[in-house]
């Protein structure tokens, strides 16, 4: 059953720009333009696309912060902007660029406020807070004023704040932006656990495609405010014609590259060889063919980096200067 429904949604912004000394020019930006998709309850969906594609605008409409210009949105059966307060009890939101925590107060105080504003029962509050403290390692931070926390600590604090009331849907807008590797991993593990344990539906926006690789079985790519790809990771590889890598550890170093049809060796190092093969092919026949001819010690399959996949998908055309980070994704 779909918990998020988006139907032909558009959102325009009127922007006024100064032209010359006094004249002002009005123009319309269509941040989201004919967007449609559904997310089933319990799904964990990666929502990616270049800068300015309309990802944050979508999340703000799904939260009720922004009113859509056209189209229809439903989240847990509610119209987000018209039933914002009622819906807010059932969703959690984390904006990587903006904190909902109280700057001058200890972290604990923000959680206390959440407990009272969301009317979370004591037992449940204890349980959820303990789980967050445990998994996100917040224990030593609870009595520290938020302004003294590092970015990674603050982000962990924000994620916990969004989950204390057991939301059915969790939106994360770039939750790993600016975090170090350790914090990133901690956040990913936590999200995976929340999704698996509580069945929380998660919509995740990110610039770090490893997040998606680790967490999401479904990816939506949006560009210019529309969905340009929706499906599994494998499908994305399919479209992009990308390659997976089979890492083979042989019993003894081979002087020559392994030679089998359907794969080519891209790197050799002692007894270890790297074989590239189309990401859409199954690894099993390759493994069988290699095992029949060479003594094997170990095998592993590596997924391609999604950056490359998307880059291939779009043929690498940057259209605007600002599309820096994932510029090659633009221009579908």
């Amino acid at each position: 059953m779909a918990i998020i429904e988006v139907e032909d949604v558009a959102r325009t912004f009127t922007v006024r720009r100064k032209v010359g000394r006094l004249k002002r020019e009005r123009s319309e930006v269509r941040a989201v333009d004919g967007l449609s998709f559904e997310v089933a309850a319990g799904e964990m969906v990666g929502y990616i696309g270049p800068n300015g594609a309309g990802k944050s605008t979508t999340i703000k409409m799904l939260t009720g912060i922004l009113v859509p210009s056209e189209g229809r949105l439903r989240v847990a059966g509610a119209d987000p902007s018209r039933e914002r307060v009622r819906l807010a009890r059932r969703i959690g939101v984390v904006f990587g660029q903006r904190t909902t925590l109280w700057w001058d107060l200890p972290l604990r105080d923000s959680y206390e406020l959440a407990r009272r504003i969301y009317r979370i029962e004591d037992a449940r509050y204890r349980r959820n807070l303990d789980r967050c403290i445990d998994l996100l390692e917040l224990g030593p931070l609870l009595d520290v004023p938020v302004r003294q926390l590092s970015l990674g600590q603050r982000m962990r604090g924000d994620i916990a704040a969004a989950l204390l009331h057991d939301p059915e849907v969790l939106y994360l807008d770039e939750p790993t932006i600016g975090l170090d590797v350790v914090s990133k991993n901690r956040v990913r593990e936590f999200l995976a656990e929340i999704n698996a344990e509580s069945g929380t539906t998660v919509l995740l926006t990110t610039h770090d495609l490893t997040d998606i690789e680790r967490l999401c079985s479904r990816v939506m790519v949006i560009d210019h405010g529309r969905v340009v790809y929706d499906g599994g990771l494998e499908g994305l590889h399919n479209v992009g014609g990308s390659e997976r890598t089979l890492v083979v550890d042989l019993a003894a170093p081979e002087p020559d590259p392994i030679s089998i049809p359907g794969a080519r060796v891209v790197r050799m190092e002692g007894p270890r060889q790297w074989l590239a093969f189309p990401a859409t092919d199954s690894a099993a026949p390759l493994v069988a063919a290699i095992a029949a001819r060479y003594p094997l010690v170990d095998l592993s399959v590596k997924e391609p980096a999604i950056e490359d996949v998307i880059a291939r998908m779009y043929g690498g055309g940057t259209t605007e200067g600002e599309r820096s980070l994932e510029g090659s994704v633009a221009g579908a």
């Binding site: 912004f13 912060i65 904006f95 001058d104």
Partner: protein
């Protein structure tokens, strides 16, 4: 239906929830401001002294004359005290709204809108500061002195009109703050207009209506109905003839004016919040 008799109307529940959210958010700001205790006292006393200076100006005027527009010093002090008291209460409760433009510009209204509570309640409690009570206390003192000097004959109806004056005056000024804030969603520098209605209006209401041009006074009755804050009820309470030339029942019509102001402000607020556009990121 029998059921509908026992179930409170939906606005009752919503109002109670909003007040609860207000209290919670205001409490957070109070806690945050405890860190700066000394500056609290300095600004509180500072505010009280500054607004007392206004009254000194009026008192000095009476050194040269016994009446101002036909009103004696204690009568003018009554206007001064009621005007300042109601503005002070509105300012204490919802005055933070005049900084809303800043939050609209930087997009931090977002964080308010993800919480399950009325945005107006949360934003009114934003940066809640008890030091604003300084104005309330100082005006209460002036009002107390005025009532002492006037020796009014406090009948039941007069007590009621006095209480209604304080509540409705606060609502009218509060509505001006809310409406002003609503416009900040469209033009983030709209606070100036709102300030001229609230602070400018309150200064006007410190003086008898008879000292102002007729058109200005009519504007305060039929336009932005500030006259209903204290001028009109004061005519009844102090037993003065009407210098404005309006129907006699207007003296008791403050609740109606307050209701209209609150409704208009509420509509403006709804329109404002629905046009909120956050910021690109």
């Amino acid at each position: 239906m029998a059921e509908s008799l026992s179930v409170p109307p939906p606005w009752y529940g919503r109002t109670r929830e909003a007040l609860r959210a207000y209290r919670l958010v205001a409490g957070m700001w109070l806690r945050a401001s405890l860190a700066y205790r000394t500056s609290f006292w300095i600004t509180t006393v500072g505010n009280a002294v500054t607004s007392l200076l206004d009254f000194v100006v009026i008192a000095v005027m009476f050194q040269h004359t016994t009446t101002l527009g036909g009103w004696t010093l204690p009568q003018v002090a009554f206007l001064y005290g009621t005007s300042g008291l109601t503005l002070g209460l509105a300012d204490l409760l919802v005055g933070s709204l005049d900084q809303l433009g800043q939050r609209v510009r930087d997009g931090s209204v977002d964080t308010v809108l993800v919480r399950p509570a009325a945005a107006l309640a949360q934003l009114s409690a934003d940066r809640f500061a008890l030091r604003r009570a300084g104005r309330v206390v100082q005006n209460l003192l002036v009002l107390g002195w005025s009532l002492w000097e006037l020796q009014l004959d406090w009948t039941g109806p007069k007590l009621l009109v006095m209480a209604v004056l304080v509540v409705c005056g606060t609502v009218i000024f509060g509505s001006a703050f809310v409406a002003g804030a609503a416009f900040q969603f469209f033009a983030t520098d709209a606070a100036e207009v709102q300030n001229s209605v609230t602070y400018g209006g309150a200064t006007m209401l410190q003086y008898p209506p008879s000292v102002f041009a007729r058109d200005l006074v009519r504007g305060a009755v039929y336009g932005i109905p500030l006259a209903f804050v204290n001028w009109l009820p004061a005519l009844y309470l102090l037993g003065l003839p009407d210098p404005i030339g309006v129907p006699g029942w207007f003296r008791f019509a403050s609740p109606l004016a307050a209701l209209l102001c609150a409704a208009a402000a509420g509509l403006a607020w709804r329109a404002g919040i629905r046009s909120y556009r956050s910021t690109g990121s």
